[in-house]
Symmetry: C2
Amino acid sequence: MQPTWALAEIAGDLVEEKRVRIGLVGFGTVGTGVAKLICEKANAITAKMGVVLELGCVVDLDTTTPRPVTLPDGVLTSDLNQLLNDESITIGVELVGGTTIAKDIQLQMLRAGKHVVTANKALLAEHGAELYHVAHENGRCLAFEASCAGGIPIVTALRTGLAANEVTAMYGIVNGTCNYILSSMSSKQEEFAVALAQAQERGFAEADPTLDINGGDSAHKLAILGSMAFGYEIELDDIFVQGLEGVAQDDIRYGQEMGYCLKLLAIGEKNAEGRVSLRVHPSFIAADCSLARVDGSFNAISVFGDAVGETLYYGRGAGMMPTASAVVADIIDVALGNSATTFQHLQLKPRDEVASLVEPIDDCVSRFYIRVMAKDEPGVVAGYGQILGKNEISISGALQHEGHGPDNTVPVVITTHETPTRSMMAALKELGDSELFSGEPVCIRIVDIPEDKDL
Amino acid sequence: MQPTWALAEIAGDLVEEKRVRIGLVGFGTVGTGVAKLICEKANAITAKMGVVLELGCVVDLDTTTPRPVTLPDGVLTSDLNQLLNDESITIGVELVGGTTIAKDIQLQMLRAGKHVVTANKALLAEHGAELYHVAHENGRCLAFEASCAGGIPIVTALRTGLAANEVTAMYGIVNGTCNYILSSMSSKQEEFAVALAQAQERGFAEADPTLDINGGDSAHKLAILGSMAFGYEIELDDIFVQGLEGVAQDDIRYGQEMGYCLKLLAIGEKNAEGRVSLRVHPSFIAADCSLARVDGSFNAISVFGDAVGETLYYGRGAGMMPTASAVVADIIDVALGNSATTFQHLQLKPRDEVASLVEPIDDCVSRFYIRVMAKDEPGVVAGYGQILGKNEISISGALQHEGHGPDNTVPVVITTHETPTRSMMAALKELGDSELFSGEPVCIRIVDIPEDKDL
């Protein structure tokens, strides 16, 4: 079927369809998805968007393993130079991953005059400033919608749809592996290890899930999204990161009893002084808020703007086709020339202004959930009451079920009112040292997402 | 504070900030919001986006009523020519509303060489094709993010973020007034009239709410969003529309008992033959699905793409600042030149191809909720059973509480399996005619949103 209602015919003046040749580096899962979309959906994309996408070159060391897509003859190669030297290729897509070879590939493509599209959050989070710099020097752009939250167009939303807003806060579930595990622990009462094993079995976790579980992947995405949202260069060191290691089924259950749901959140919050707190950590959120209902491997990001109020974006954060959808959206945007314009005009405050803009974690005020294992003897309540009181921590709720475990301890759960992190750290040390309690206390932040409601 | 990390300094080569003068027509609620953002947030926008927005002219017949924004001297006028003749003004924003004067204003602005930004869904839904045509003829663009779902960047998402996808279905809560009323009826057991009065009192419904309640406003938005999603010109006549008139508290309650929540949905569904069903009607949806949790005056749109799966967008669909946020996002996008490129390349299939693409409502297959008021006598179950069976309608659930009302009738609620609309219409006529039942049967569609889950 031919596209018809083009500007061309109406204005009686031919506007040529844009024709773009693309070079792809990395022919793994996402690379295969991108190749599929370009090869199989090219006509539909042309019909709707007026751009003709052509796959000029696919570079991968492995040129023999069969993939579920048929490439045109001569396109697959193991030689990056075939892409770099082909002047008809104007867009290079880096889907190799990692921060070493991938960086070199992106730099080579930019220097060869290609625009770069990538899904590589780790590389952007670690070396974004350098790559942006080289892109600018070469008059090329770097597009990265696919780097955060897969198929959800959140980068575009922050860069364009919310451009008139000052972002006051952002809360994201941006790691599908962690969310799958926590959903499974919450709804099926699985232990962490079991939930992780199931996630791996079902393809929602890597064989080595370290970077997902330890919060590193979420921090990479927060660095990128936070830069767009708050308008300055964020480095990984600006972000406080705590992963899911050690999250216990018991705490999820006690939290549920108190009306909370546990999520790994990537948070950017601007406080009254204009400083931004950037954190990734397990977070108890109200069980009836929007993000609490995001289950399985899905991602969602709630963004608060001073004009628009809350907007929320939900969808698949990973996988072959969702990620490929975002990569190809970027390719189209670059092909139309829009990414270049936006990228060229996007302005981030430089690092020397940023230091004073980042709130150190010690200053961060939040509510907390604490669990101590109390020895079943008199003085326990007075004990934790004194420790918390001395540190000016006010208790908001408490839960102690009757009975005790085989070691004669009982879990005592306490939630607090807003408390500076440094006061909480001091109290936790004292609770850990106290003879009344066994082992180290568990401490999880409670995040009160400011729900914008009118009913 | 000065913007700093501009391309300029990095590349050692000055890229000038874009400076754009804007003319605003209509200084009511949204117009005031837009003026506020431009006047009060200009520096923040420049710092982040690299464009300098200047308000060159605000046109309104009423130049004396005070508004909560201070305009620069000489900007407010009642003379549209001041805007049209000012060549330094390149973007005209039409916020007058309605389909007569507003159309004339948009046409005059386009012919005077201005790009047009608008929030006017009624005008676009009724005369979009003509306006697009004139825009193209004049080499200008028409941007309308604010026309659908207020502050939610859904137009951008459909045009760019999801560009690589074939949209297979779209379900939207796009009228805040109706959603406020239905939320209030569902959660507080209010009757329709009471819920409407409260919505008016709280500013969530107009004094004359006809166009909201009768589904017309939702249809306007569906025409616009559907055109973007499915890639062809949709006219209002293509859309089946049924409003909230006559929705009874009883049916909401019975639906809840059966696991459903009532929403007014704007629906676009592509069936197996590639035809699209376009409908606005009260819809029972599963109480645990994402859209069921959208409360109050909020909007949300769930879009299914063949690559990305489900993505959902949520936020405020109306109000001064949320709508202004979308208008100014469009102004920035137009200022950067991106809207023009996208608009220029956007291709819609023309009307002569469309007729065969729209599924007539009679062919639409869906599940149904039916309530009949049965006379309390023998033969009732056999009665409706025979009528439904004869029309090849299969029953999926039924609910009949014991006891009866003062008129000696009892409500019998039946849900069906998938049924063509024409069979259901025939059955409803027979149920209405039957001596066994009193009055006309109530019939509400059940919409099974294909939830994309992995847990």
